[in-house]
């Protein structure tokens, strides 16, 4: 396997010499040990840091150096950003903070009330900031995008992405591309029609929009029966990735609506449950790959699109790897969307593998019914949305999986604005607990190298490091480290709160730190001096 070519030494040196974050800095983010500048750490969404001071031999000695208690209830799913001695953290329900990296002391606190009537399927989490220049960018739950002064937390501008009264909401961490802030949207469970947007970072003016459900006259609209496209969903609630050399933005899309009842929307329902590759300058679709045509199990394809160069069948490929909620691992050619690899990584009963055309080979009898249909995996996957990690050190791709089955029920349901548009519900199987695992997968083949079992469905994202470590957390409140080569557990701490976020790492004052959200707090760890 080869890793993508990196920027020149000149570019890296130039970027690190400046305090301001610009496109050059962001392209060199992988080499900046003292910062964490974007959701996936680099544009390829690796979530890997080469820092190796904390390693497999000493990780058992790390301990907290400070803890920030937010005092705000809700789901903390944030990836903190770190820059110039400050940590920037978003929280649920439109809260955010700047914290002194040395002491954990709060420097400023931003908050904005969530308006009455703003609804979402799954709480009001937020997954992080983006940074450019002296500004931070985040979405607010009521489907707005806000720019803040990084030094004060004061609002520079705020724009509405969509009308929350129609069921739109937002939780995604934005992605800076050139001079634009690129964001997705949520709301498919309320019958919204969703999109990916780009906004001018300076003014907040919208530069382009890509509708993930094409309208009349647009290619793909014929894959929706009648007017079903109007409430077709295909949300974009997890951050995409970006290949500057190809000038393509990659973004995963979610389920079509209504989730479990496919009868009103006969057809493949493009571009739901797909990976779309968009021209960074115009937002035009360059290619797409649909993982689950005409999905009736809510198997979003929003999980990280990770950019890794692969060797498949002896041929070098610019790859895009992705662990899909439908139970399969995929590798695509990111230049054109060509299907390369599709392998089940958990129990799958609805498909007998993936065909050479990339479409699942369906096993009949797995459509939800009024009486219920038992299908594996369950509604949450497989791998859902939690941040994944690719380590160039081990050459392995790490992601988590919920393992188990559910009974899917469907029922006809008319669209009503503001009402949950789900098409029925799912049941757990009596006596069969849903469990989980963390997997290390060989990117070029989809072979599972090791699997670390979890007693509950996974709750946190992952971080791999140059110290040969993989950090993760659990629903029961453990933050822990595995040996990235073997999956052997090396260290743990019961934090007292559910770990729902991926960890980050950075160097500050010459020492490596690891930080994660847990419960409603931020924990920061390092080795003893």
């Amino acid at each position: 396997m080869r890793v993508p070519s990196l920027c020149s030494v000149f570019l890296i040196g130039t970027a690190l010499a400046h305090g301001q974050v610009d496109q050059v800095t962001l392209r060199a983010a992988q080499q900046d040990d003292e910062s964490w500048l974007m959701y996936g750490r680099n544009y390829s969404a690796w979530r890997y840091s080469p820092l190796d001071e904390i390693d497999t031999g000493n990780v058992h000695r790390i301990s907290p150096v400070w803890i920030f208690q937010s005092g705000v209830s809700g789901k903390f799913q944030t990836t903190p950003l770190v820059r110039d001695g400050v940590m920037y953290v978003t929280g649920p329900s439109n809260h955010a903070w700047a914290l002194d990296l040395k002491t954990g002391r709060e420097l400023w606190h931003y908050s904005e009330p969530v308006p009455e009537g703003a609804v979402g399927c799954c709480g009001k989490p937020n997954r992080g900031f983006a940074v450019k220049g002296d500004r931070l960018y985040k979405v607010n739950f009521q489907a707005t995008l806000v720019a803040l002064e990084a030094s004060t937390g004061e609002v520079v501008w705020e724009v509405e992405l969509a009308d929350y009264r129609e069921g739109y909401s937002n939780t995604v961490a934005p992605l800076i591309v050139k001079d634009m802030v690129v964001v997705g949207i949520a709301g498919a469970e309320y019958g919204t029609r969703d999109f990916v947007d780009a906004y001018d970072a300076e003014t907040g003016r919208r530069v382009w929009r890509f509708w993930t459900v094409p309208g009349p006259g647009e290619a793909g609209n014929e894959t929706w029966a009648g007017d079903s496209w109007k409430h077709g969903g295909a949300s974009t609630w997890i951050t995409g990735s970006y290949d500057p050399d190809l000038n393509l933005i990659y973004w995963g899309t979610g389920n079509p609506g209504p989730d479990l009842d496919g009868t009103p929307r006969r057809g493949d329902n493009l571009y739901s449950d797909s990976m779309v590759a968009l021209d960074a300058d115009t937002g035009e679709l360059r290619w797409y790959f649909q993982f689950t045509p005409h999905d009736v199990h809510d198997w979003d394809a929003v999980a990280d699109p990770v950019l890794v160069d692969l060797e498949v069948d002896g041929e070098p490929r610019k790859g895009l790897i992705h662990a899909n909620r439908n139970g399969h691992y995929y590798a695509l050619d990111r230049t054109n969307g060509e299907f390369l690899v599709g392998r089940a990584y958990t129990e799958v009963t609805w498909a007998d593998g993936i065909g050479s055309d990339g479409r699942p080979i369906l096993i009949p009898g797995h459509e939800p019914t009024d009486e219920g249909t038992l299908t594996c995996p369950g509604l949450g996957g497989g791998h859902n949305w939690h941040a994944t990690s690719f380590s160039p050190l081990t050459g392995l791709y790490y992601f988590n999986s919920s393992d188990g089955c559910q009974i899917y029920h469907s029922a006809p349901q008319d669209y009503v604005q503001g009402e949950f548009y789900f098409g029925s519900a799912m049941e757990n199987v009596s006596g069969e607990p849903r469990e989980g695992s963390i997997l290390a997968v060989e990117p070029s083949t989809g072979d599972t190298r090791w699997r670390y079992p979890l007693v509950s469905p996974p709750s946190s994202g992952l971080l791999s490091t140059g110290g040969g470590l993989l950090f993760a957390g659990t629903s029961e409140g453990y933050f822990f480290a595995l040996d990235a080569r073997s999956g052997k557990p090396l260290w743990r701490l019961r934090t007292g709160g559910r770990v729902q976020a991926p960890a980050i790492t950075y160097r500050f004052g010459g020492r490596q730190y690891v930080a994660t959200a847990s419960g409603t707090a931020i924990f920061v760890f390092t080795l003893p001096q």
Binding site: G372, H409, A411, P412, Q413, D414, V416, G418, E419, F420, F422, G423, S424, A425, E427, S430, G431, E432, P433, P453, L454, V455, S456, T474, E476, Y478, F480, P489, R492, R494
Partner: protein, 258 residues
């Protein structure tokens, strides 16, 4: 929240229910379809996907414990039932959404009353003596602590669910009553109720009430089974009449002093 705020909030909830004294969707088939979808998402985990009961009472009998008018049902959904696992949904659902659930429940054909034709007094005797239920289960201040307390069980569970729990205890384990087995390094086996079980540790309460706590690396093995530790075979050891008497006793337990 300060108490003043809490009282205001409660007052607001009651006022809200009074303000919407009649069901705006009564007889509206589309509203019932929407209500069915909401019911399945929010209510079916306890009341069953067909509203025929489970951990919560059956709602397809045309009779409701807290009153049979649409407003009575609305109030229960909005405000919950104190002393049970039924919490209020007013904060998470619009008034319209709750009325649609009420409208859906009204479309269900009334199924026969499942009140057990048994002698509760004789069932009480069976509970404490012949069947030995009181060795593990508590009613009020009397009985054991190994199994779930049954003080309010007649209010919290449908009769069908109680019957299933008696004859097939594995069918629906109460939360927190799965079995954990620890084998220590010296070969001792400890089996009991799993107070906690995670990726790195387990806490087990044995039949004598003793709590044991281990990290995974301290023991030879630790495993969790989603099976009940309640003895099975009551279907054989009790006659049909005794089963009916016992169920009638359980059905009578509503939290009052016995």
């Amino acid at each position: 929240m300060r108490w003043g705020g809490l009282l205001l909030a409660l007052g607001g909830a009651l006022l809200s229910a009074q303000d919407v004294a009649s069901n705006p969707f009564r007889g509206d088939a589309k509203a019932a379809d929407l209500g069915k979808a909401s019911f399945r998402l929010r209510c079916s985990a306890c009341h069953g996907i067909r509203a025929d009961g489970g951990r919560g009472p059956a709602l397809n009998r045309g009779e409701f414990a807290a009153g049979d008018t649409d407003l009575d049902i609305y109030r229960v959904i909005a405000e919950g039932v104190p002393g049970t696992e039924m919490s209020g949904y007013a904060a998470r659902n619009s008034e319209e959404s709750i009325w649609r659930i009420v409208t859906f429940l009204r479309t269900l054909e009334a199924s026969p009353d499942d009140t057990i034709d048994g002698n509760a007094s004789q069932g009480e005797d069976i509970f404490w003596n012949q069947a030995g239920c009181g060795g593990c289960h508590r009613v009020g201040s009397r009985g054991g602590r190994f199994g779930p307390a049954l003080t309010r069980i007649g209010r919290a569970r449908s009769t069908e669910h109680l019957r299933a729990s008696l004859l097939d205890p594995d069918q629906d384990l109460p939360p927190g009553y799965y079995a954990v087995e620890i084998v220590t390094r010296d070969g001792q086996t400890i089996r009991g109720i799993g107070v906690g079980f995670d990726d790195f540790s387990a806490q087990v309460r044995d039949a004598a009430g003793q709590l044991h706590s281990f990290f995974r690396e301290e023991v030879r093995s630790m495993s969790r089974e989603f099976t009940s530790l309640m003895p099975d075979g009551y279907g054989d050891s009790l006659t049909d009449e005794q089963q009916r008497d016992l169920l009638a006793y359980l059905q009578s337990l509503h939290g009052e002093e016995q």
